[in-house]
């Protein structure tokens, strides 16, 4: 990985031999560690103190990443300090330094939480090597914690938005049922029919959301057995078009399928179906009356391209960047009243990735959009 960022770690040396401290400080100050796995270049700021108490007081005020502690300090034992700081659970790596390089001391220090152990007198290389190990360990552990935390946050966000998306249609249906129950005489039979119709539409939206959600969880969990077979995308596109034609005809939208080359691939049929259905129904949903949908299928050098263009409302530039995120639906005067789960495009993106491909969009506001999915066969 290329080194893309730089980080400074704070090192503190706790040793009563000032000459040793100064020497070590000089070595550490000029040292650079490259953590290639994370692409981080690390350099160090160094401080030293000569007493254990001084060190513990300093820890209350200042954060350090790595501590080098002498085994024998004038006011206390290095092991006592080690025990104290381990108990406090600082996000910091302790390394023990000692003149008495005995096996027992090393075992005890390790038991008390020392990451490494260097014996005095040590060479600059020994110090650097220990520091390098500690740095890599520290950064990898921090990185792992961070990505775990991010995953948890994303999950939480997903669930809270999902609850909201399920609550909205429920509230709408409940509202209509409440009115129907009261049987107001001020409301005409046609209006009551309309309310029943709206309730059914919202139910349908909810059902679609739940189905899309099942698609998402199946893909994400990896539980679903993927069933690979030789499939003919032309045939699948034809049946997707047939399904979409029902809605399209209502608004006089024409769907054209343009097959440039035979498009066969080894894939899971269900997954390709999700991609095609989502792309085509979107192109109809966000289209204008009397509009067009053009689907182009082609295969070049084992790359399959599915491009679906519409003559619909188009997308603002700033909306495109978040379009493929879960539950994102673009809200504006043109999209009011169009139902959707906000999961379709994020699902397409995930599926395209599974096939080593991607999904892109080109759009002009008021003229239409083209969504292109590329897959490796």
């Amino acid at each position: 990985m290329k080194l893309t960022s730089e980080e400074r770690l704070k090192v503190i040396i706790v040793d009563d031999e000032e000459g040793m401290c100064l020497g070590a400080k000089r070595i550490v100050r000029d040292f650079v560690v490259e953590v290639n796995d994370l692409g981080i270049k690390v350099s160090f700021d160094v401080k030293y103190v000569t007493r254990g108490k001084e060190y513990l007081d300093l820890l209350e005020k200042e954060k350090f990443d790595i501590t080098l502690i002498d085994y024998k300090l004038p006011d206390c034992s290095g092991l006592d300090i080690l025990e104290k700081i381990t108990k406090k659970g600082y996000d910091m790596i302790p390394i023990m330094i000692t003149a008495y390089a005995t096996f027992e001391a090393a075992v005890q220090a390790t038991k008390l939480g020392a990451h490494d152990f260097i014996a005095k007198p040590f060479t600059p290389d020994e110090l650097r090597s220990s520091l390098r190990k500690a740095t890599v360990h520290l950064l990898l552990a921090r990185h792992a914690r961070k990505s775990e935390e991010e995953k948890r946050k994303l999950r939480f966000q997903f669930i809270s938005i999902l609850s909201h998306e399920l609550k909205a249609p429920l509230a709408a249906i409940e509202g209509y049922l409440n009115i129907l129950q009261k049987r107001y005489e001020t409301i005409s039979k046609e209006d009551y029919d309309m309310m029943l119709g709206r309730s059914l539409v919202r139910l349908e939206g909810m059902r679609k959301l739940i189905f899309d959600l099942l698609d998402v969880t199946r893909i994400e969990s990896g539980d679903k057995k993927r069933n690979f077979e030789e499939i003919n995308i032309e045939d699948m596109a034809k049946s997707s078009v047939e399904m979409a034609n029902f809605e399209a005809a209502k608004r006089n939208i024409k769907i054209e399928l343009n097959i440039k080359t035979p498009v066969k691939m080894h894939a899971d049929k269900g997954e390709i179906e999700i991609i095609l259905n989502n792309l085509i129904t979107n192109a109809v949903k966000y289209n204008k009356e009397n509009g067009r949908v053009d689907i182009v299928l082609e295969k070049n050098d084992n790359k399959i391209r599915i491009a679906v263009s519409d003559t619909g409302i188009g997308l603002e530039k700033e909306d495109i960047s978040r379009l493929f995120e879960e539950f994102v639906r673009i809200k504006n005067e043109h999209t009011i009243g169009i139902l959707g789960s906000g999961l379709g495009l994020s699902t397409i993106k995930k599926l395209a990735k599974l096939y080593g491909g991607e999904v892109t969009v080109q759009s002009v506001v008021g003229e239409g959009s083209t969504f292109t999915v590329e897959l490796s066969s």
Binding site: H164, K167, A171, G175, Y176, I179, K331, E333, I336
Partner: protein, 129 residues
């Protein structure tokens, strides 16, 4: 004969809009609906409502604030009730309004969705004298 009280209802949720319209009409109010801030602005050109009920998040997350401000500017004595689901959407809470908040949120009352019709009716009666 007394003129009916005119209520302007603004929301991007078409279902909520219709439901409240029916409920309020059944109570004898004249109800004008607008799906979003832009439509409401059109309506306001030719109508001074006795009270307006405005959703917060419509075309933009703060469309309701803006509209409320615009209504107050055009018709300073028209009370505005703001209705919002913002708490569950963003975690921001506007539970009770202090005098300070009332100053910058140009609404007389803020309700959090789901709002019961009885709640709205009571507040309309209180605000429209």
């Amino acid at each position: 004969m007394n003129k009916k009280t005119t209520v302007l209802l603004v929301d991007d949720d078409a279902d909520f809009l219709l439901q409240e319209k029916y409920e309020l009409e059944a109570e004898g109010y004249e109800v004008v609906i607008a799906e979003g801030r832009k439509k409401a602005k059109e309506v306001l050109k030719g109508l001074k409502p006795d009270i307006a009920i405005v959703d917060l998040m419509m075309e933009s997350p703060d469309a309701g604030f803006v509209l409320s401000y615009e209504i107050k500017k055009q018709y300073p004595d028209t009370p505005v009730i703001m209705v919002t689901a913002v708490t569950s959407k963003t975690g921001i809470e506007f539970s009770s309004i202090t005098e300070d908040e009332k100053h910058w949120i140009k609404a007389d009352t803020i309700f959090t969705k789901p709002v019961r019709t009885e709640q709205l009716l009571k507040e309309i009666k209180r605000l429209v004298k």
